[in-house]
């Protein structure tokens, strides 16, 4: 009855504070490595938090022709690098994406770094010396356009600025386009660079921890800011099989919901709805889920709301579902977060290994879930959910499954 193609993940590319490339990233992630370090991207004087998940060792020239690097903002550089890695990981030649049946879908929170540089320049010195090249690169749409331009793709091109859930929005729509629009390949994910505005903003909301991220812990103090990019290659199952691609996981669908409640405070009912919608779209029962990669930012409000929502959706079965948060290691990579997390779900499925939630010391009765504390766990994962919840009620939940013919 359902003639729509099945959608699988065949390539993963990551640039993160704990590793660049799928293998180094996964090795570090499953070892519980923290990517949090002293912030060098800007002056942190006067603020409680001096730490974040910066990517210190990123060399754009490794992935991008040198003459093009200066025309690209950092978020674009990260995204192109992660895309290159994903394409290579999928064992595709880049030129096999250079046509109108390749869609490029990106998610972000803050957009392009040149914008921040420009604004700071304007604030300090007025309008005189504003760099024309930066102006051209400032608007957020450059992010998705730059990736499409670099790989010469000609299909749909979307930029979803749905903040902390953006990666899921991009990957989810990629799934839709393959099934319904005759698209062959999707390059989807998210990217965000370290932004001073975000650093100040989260602290002014008292949402940031001074030193480490402790999701679900009783004494958790808040999130940490991170940066990076996660990009996936999605393709039709028949195409993947035909070319003998390695399949990480199948995407079964995704659920979105909207709290319609508050610009920043989460609503457990809205969060639960996203997960329910996801299960319904994927035609699964709540008892089918083996693992949840949570949004788990480490703020008192998010983790409590999410734990409650998980309990309400999964009821008794919640006791059997490990619910980790890799933000404990990477910090919150904003628009890249749910994309990197989706990648970690694919790898958890492939390897039967769930990365830990590190920094977990004291259980919180309000977050009564198994958060895979501190050490990675071996478990066969058939179905994983990837949660991403953003300010303003942008809730998303992606469903990934172990591939079986």
């Amino acid at each position: 009855m359902d003639k729509q193609p099945r959608v699988v993940v065949t390539g993963i590319g990551i640039v993160s504070s704990i590793g660049t490339g799928r293998k180094p990233f996964w090795k570090a992630l499953t070892a519980g490595t923290s990517g949090i370090s002293r912030i060098t991207a800007f002056d942190t004087t006067g603020f409680k938090c001096q730490f974040g998940g910066e990517v210190h060792d990123f060399s754009p020239e490794r992935f991008i022709e040198k003459r093009r690097v200066k025309f690209l903002g950092r978020a674009s550089q990260l995204a192109i690098a992660a895309s290159s890695l994903a394409i290579e990981d999928a064992r595709l030649a880049p030129k096999s994406l250079a046509h109108s049946k390749t869609a490029v879908l990106l998610g972000t929170t803050m957009g392009e770094k040149p914008l921040e540089d420009l604004v700071q320049s304007w604030v300090k010195a007025g309008t005189r010396d504003l760099d024309r090249r930066r102006i051209l690169q400032a608007s957020a749409n450059n992010l998705s356009a730059n990736v499409a331009l670099y790989f010469k793709t000609k299909g749909q091109n979307y930029l979803f600025p749905t903040a902390c859930a953006a990666g899921n929005y991009a990957i989810g729509y990629g799934y839709d386009l393959i099934r319904n629009d005759g698209i062959d390949y999707v390059l989807a994910g998210g990217s965000d660079a370290f932004f001073y505005v975000a650093y100040i903003g989260f602290q002014r909301l008292y949402a940031m921890s001074p030193d480490r991220c402790q999701p679900f812990d009783k004494n958790r103090k808040g999130m940490m800011l991170g940066e990076g990019s996660g990009m996936l290659i999605l393709e039709r199952l028949d195409s993947a099989l035909e070319r003998g691609a390695d399949i990480y996981a199948e995407i079964l669908g995704y659920g979105l919901s909207c709290d319609a409640f508050h610009p920043t405070a989460p609503d457990p009912a809205g969060v639960a709805k996203a997960m329910k919608n996801a299960l319904s779209q994927a035609d699964l029962a709540h008892t089918d889920v083996d693992f949840i990669c949570s949004h788990g930012t480490g703020t008192p409000s998010n983790d409590k709301a999410e734990a409650h929502a998980i309990k309400s959706v999964f009821k008794d079965h919640a006791n059997h579902i490990p619910v980790n948060s890799i933000k404990s290691m990477l910090g919150h990579c904003m628009g890249a977060a749910s994309a990197i997390e989706a990648a970690s779900c694919c790898l958890a499925i492939k390897d039967g290994l769930i990365p830990p939630t590190i920094n977990y010391e004291t259980p919180d009765p309000e977050c009564d879930i198994d958060c895979v504390p501190n050490t990675a766990r071996r478990k066969t994962v058939n179905v994983a959910l990837n949660n991403g919840f953003a300010f303003g009620g942008n809730n998303s939940c992606l469903v990934l499954k172990k591939f079986k013919k």
Binding site: R204, L205, Y206, H262, P263, T264, A265
Partner: protein
Amino acid sequence: MAPKNFEVIKQEVKKAVAAIIEIPESKLTDDIKFVEDLGIDSMMALEIVASIEKKYKIVIPEEDIPKMRCLRDIYNSLEKKL
């Protein structure tokens, strides 16, 4: 701190808070509770605190914010800091 009459400061604070909550100053009595009586949300509470901090160049510790339940609490806190 310049010896501004504290009554003047109280009037400034009342005006600023009334503007944030968007109610007439006459309705904003010293003891009326922000959350329970006026129904403000967490963001508005943060905004009120931020405007006081900015205006008087002080820092209100995070733990004290939930204690700012009405104008009188703000006055008391300010009086100690100024």
